[in-house]
């Protein structure tokens, strides 16, 4: 079948088929869509703009990472091996993030090497999980705020592009809400092996046009699909 014929058939079919299955989540604010940071995050900082409260050993690691980055060596963040960036780093890079919203699950689909993250609504973390790069995310709605709780991350990643370290005790809580058309994500980091106290940073995302199509990125092929020319 030629695509044009398929489209004609599709247009006819769409008139008679209303899919209840595709309904997303009428009971909550609609955070679905493709989002991208309002500004790149060179280094995660606390809400009052400070370096997070690193414990002495962790501070030494961070200073080493800063020096490495200055010398052009990013071996600390896994990017050069095409490994996942981990949490919350993958939420803090300047690449589109698609959110699919269903009553039972929020899906974060990253352009970054096509990685997905699922946040299961009103579920508990299983108690027998292996660690992973992106951890295990469960979520609940608190009024207009989606609270996503992520645990069980491995210690092979850093928290942000500047190389803030973490341990396998990392616990990340994100609070997403719509603010003036933007999506705000207040991220609280708790990792008492690395930081003396929990700390919070804020990321903001703007929405890309509704007809934006996610592009395919394949790190190991060093390829990013070209944007359509429209011709």
């Amino acid at each position: 079948m030629k695509p044009s014929i398929a489209f004609a058939a599709a247009a006819a079919a769409s008139l008679i088929v209303a899919s209840a299955a595709s309904a997303q989540d009428p009971a909550h604010p609609n955070i679905a869509g493709v989002w991208t940071l309002t500004a790149p995050v060179a280094a995660a900082r606390t809400i009052d703009g400070k370096v997070p409260p690193l414990l002495p050993a962790a501070r030494a690691v961070y200073e080493k990472h800063l020096a490495q980055a200055k010398a052009g060596d990013r071996s600390f963040d896994g990017v050069s091996d095409c490994l996942p960036l981990g949490m919350p780093y993958i939420q803090l890079i300047d690449k589109p993030i698609q959110i699919l919203q269903k009553p039972h699950t929020i899906y974060f689909l990253y352009q970054e090497n096509r990685l997905p993250r699922r946040a299961y609504i009103d579920q508990q973390h299983p108690d027998d999980l292996d660690t992973s790069y992106l951890g295990d995310s469960v979520a609940k709605w608190e009024g207009d705020t989606l609270v996503v709780d992520t645990t069980t991350m491995n210690d092979l990643t850093v928290l942000d592009a500047s190389g803030l370290p973490h341990s396998d005790q990392l616990h990340v809580v994100e609070r997403f809400r719509l603010v003036g058309g933007q999506l705000e994500n207040r991220i609280t980091i708790t990792d008492l092996k690395t930081y003396s106290a929990p700390w919070t940073t804020v990321a903001r995302y703007r929405k890309l046009p509704a007809d934006y199509h996610m592009l395919e990125e394949v790190c190991r092929a060093q390829s990013l699909q070209a944007a359509p020319t429209g011709k």
Binding site: A9, S14, S22, Y107, H213, L215, V218
Partner: protein, 275 residues
Amino acid sequence: MYLPTPNRRRIALAMGLMGGLVAAGAADAQAPRRNLNNGADVTLALTNPSSPGRPAPKGAAPPNPDMHDLQGHWWTSEFKPLLGPALGVPAKLKPKYMAILEARIRNKNKGIPEADASTQCWPHGTPRVMESPYPIEIVETPGMITILMETQHNVRRIYMNVPHTKGLGESFLGESVGHWEGDTLVVDAIGMNTRTFIDDEGTSHSNKQHVIERIRKIEGGAKLQIVNTIDDPETLDEPFSYSTTYHWRPDVRDQEYICEENNRNTVVDGITTAK
């Protein structure tokens, strides 16, 4: 470097199956072997099909009978190393491309398979990505049906009731658009680059490849069936069709699949071994 957790064993097995790396394994040698075109040339031996997915265990949530709700987890019960008009029968390739397929099969049987998408952590291309021996999840949202694949963290987006994008940039999975014809989801995919093979054995395709999938629930939703039709005026003398079925698997909880980590290690009998 890392202990082989159950998760990593699952990864290693997937890579073996999808990469044709277990073709000469001991278990395989006991099974009947077909050669390409069923000829006598054993250097053209084909890797046996397998049955990776199982039905849902007892006590799992019953299938959803709504024919237009394909959502949830599915796991194919078929793994076909060669995709063609029938099991073990190759596509009607033009002579140049048949020669390439034969060369790839001979190299595989010599234990030096040509590096393909599996071993390089690339997406497998459309429709091969649907042949993954690991679970998939389908999500329906307004205007889009998304298929999340555990294998190589691939994401396939099917844009509903729209034409293909003008000036589309090539990609591994191409662009898929879909519409419903009665109870069948019809998906039309184009725009695949030439960095993948159609199947594990190494059937070639060009960037003119055109895939149409007819996807529907069968057996009251206990299974999902996809009938694929592949056309490629560059490589094929005629289009061919085949079907793949998947079990409804509401019990599956998604696992992180990181090929990029795993392929630092070697695969021996489906178990990861650190280099």
